[in-house]
């Protein structure tokens, strides 16, 4: 007889001769349950993933902050310290973000060599608005306004400074393309 055929028969015979105990010990639903148990992360793994996500997020924030010139040898400003007294969880990131933006603004010349009046009017309008909000913030602190009010004003200031950064960036781009 051909040896291959003999081998196949022999293998089939061996399979048929296997005892019942070697069969699958659980059915399909049990397999799914066990499979689900295996893929579901345990509490420790979930925590690790959250930590990793937070780390990635923090790295992103640091990268953006660094891009804006946030890393500076100058010591932390008193504003950040004082703001922290108000509402640490809300004002600290706000103050750091604003400080980074103001750092970039301070690195620019006060105005381009040739001033385009339309864009400059936008810049001066924002600068004056920020000065007005600063004046209001001083008054609010002197009158011991509620922290929520101070925070709202501080957020408005941060938005204005952000807008000023955008407008000055646009002004710089337009100036360089002339």
């Amino acid at each position: 007889m051909h040896p291959d055929l003999d081998q196949q028969r022999s293998l089939a015979r061996r399979l048929r001769e296997m005892p019942d105990e070697a069969a699958q010990p659980y059915d399909w639903s049990e397999f799914q349950r066990r499979s689900g148990t295996r893929t579901r992360p345990g509490p420790g793994l979930a925590g690790a993933r959250a930590l990793a996500a937070a780390t990635v997020l923090a790295l992103g924030v640091v990268a953006v902050w660094t891009r804006l010139g946030g890393w500076s040898p100058t010591p932390p400003r008193p504003a950040s310290v004082a703001a922290a007294r108000l509402a640490p969880e809300a004002t600290q990131p706000l103050a750091a973000h604003t400080a980074a933006m103001e750092h970039w603004l301070a690195s620019l010349p006060s105005e381009p060599a040739v001033v385009h009046v339309g864009t400059r009017a936008a810049v001066t309008g924002l600068e004056d608005r920020i000065a007005q909000v600063d004046d209001l913030l001083s008054a609010a602190r002197l009158d011991q306004a509620q922290p929520a009010r101070l925070l709202a004003l501080q957020q408005a200031r941060t938005r204005l400074v952000g807008a000023l950064v955008q407008v000055r960036y646009a002004e710089t781009l337009a100036d360089e393309s002339r």
Binding site: R77, P78, A79, A82, E102, L105, A106, S110, E111, A113, V114, V115, H116, V117, G118, T119, R120, A121, A122, V123, T124, G125, L126, E127, D128, R129, I130, A131, Q132, V133, D134, D135, L136, L137, S138, A139, A140, R141, L142, A145, R149, A152, L153, Q155, A156, R157, R159, L160, V161, G162, A163, L164, Q166, V167, A170, E171, L173, A174, S177, R178
Partner: protein
């Protein structure tokens, strides 16, 4: 009639000659077309690119203007909600103040970017010890500064003495207008929430003035144009608006002497569309006085941005207050 017959031998010769010529054409490199002088092609293309670039720049500048205007309006909404009753009409120097711990004076907590104090050189952390010659010895020095500033007019020079790193320094700060009452709000029937700071004239700028270009006179430029001070008009507004021409030097606007392009922009921004003013200029080495009017009815109306969320005005009929860009 004489008949012509095609001789087959001629046909063969013709085909052979054509094939030879075609082969020669294919084998030999095609003769290069005569070089086109750049002067005949590039100007059109460059002009097109220039036009596209100019259009893109205009879009960029318009977007920047919109960002500034909308951000300013948004801050007005917040201020309205948070501090509805603002003391109007006083001048400001662009600082946030707080009490100093263990020292007499008001500590500078924040300096407004591009503000008067920043331009003068005042820093965060400086301790203001005197304003306009008055030493800050009250129990609340920061409040004393606010009281002193109530008597200061916009554009006035304010002398500020600060202590920095144990040394005393003097600065001269040019005050700017602070928050003021928006005139049109007074005309509304419902004034339930009081007054709020008005939007500055910078965002009312529109039309031909948007395209004007200015340069601060340097000593060399000044000697060329015959003036030690003023602002040079690099590009005048089109269509003869405000009667300026390229090369003019603006010495004064209604008596206010601009010290930079930004300052001239601020002064012009303080006028409403249609308002008249007098320019003192140098034109071709001659000093002239020119009566001008800020152009009006040149822009589009932004009614959608006039009303603020949650304010009683949303329920009111629109008033004559419009923003024209």
């Amino acid at each position: 009639m004489k008949k012509f017959y095609l001789n087959p031998s001629w046909l063969i010769v013709g085909i052979a000659a054509g094939a030879t010529a075609a082969a020669a054409c294919l084998a030999a490199p095609a003769p290069a077309p005569p070089p086109v002088p750049p002067a005949t092609v590039r100007p059109d293309r460059d002009a097109d690119l220039d036009a596209q670039l100019e259009a893109a720049r205009k879009r960029l500048e318009q977007a920047a203007h919109d960002v500034a205007r909308l951000s300013s309006q948004l801050s007005g909404t917040v201020i309205d909600r948070v501090m509805p009753f603002v003391e109007a009409g006083h001048a400001i120097i662009g600082v946030q103040l707080e009490p100093a711990v263990g020292a007499a004076g008001a500590r500078v907590r924040e300096v407004s970017p591009g503000g008067p104090a920043a331009e003068a050189g005042i820093h965060v952390g400086d301790l203001i010890v005197a304003v306009n010659g008055t030493e800050l010895k009250d129990e609340e020095p920061a409040r004393q500064v606010v009281r002193i500033m109530r008597d200061v007019k916009p554009d006035a020079k304010v002398s500020v003495r600060v202590s920095r790193d144990g040394k005393t320094r003097d600065f001269t700060v040019t005050a700017r207008p602070g928050p003021s009452v928006l005139a049109s709000v007074r005309d509304l029937p419902d004034l339930g929430f009081g007054t709020f700071p008005e939007f500055q004239g910078a965002f009312l700028f529109h039309g031909p003035l948007m395209d004007m270009e200015l340069a601060t006179l340097t000593p060399r430029l000044g000697s060329y144009f015959g003036s030690e001070q003023g602002v040079l008009v690099v590009r005048a507004p089109p269509d003869g608006a405000v009667k300026l021409e390229d090369g003019d030097v603006i010495l004064a606007i209604d008596g206010r002497q601009p010290t930079s392009g930004s300052h001239a922009t601020r002064i012009l921004s303080s006028y409403q569309p249609g308002e008249k003013f007098t320019l003192r200029i140098i034109r071709q080495h001659k000093t002239l006085e020119v009566d001008a009017t800020l152009p009006e009815n040149m822009g589009r109306i932004h009614k959608d941005t006039m009303w603020r969320d949650g304010s009683p005005h949303e329920r009111s009929e629109p008033t004559r207050r419009v923003l024209i860009l």
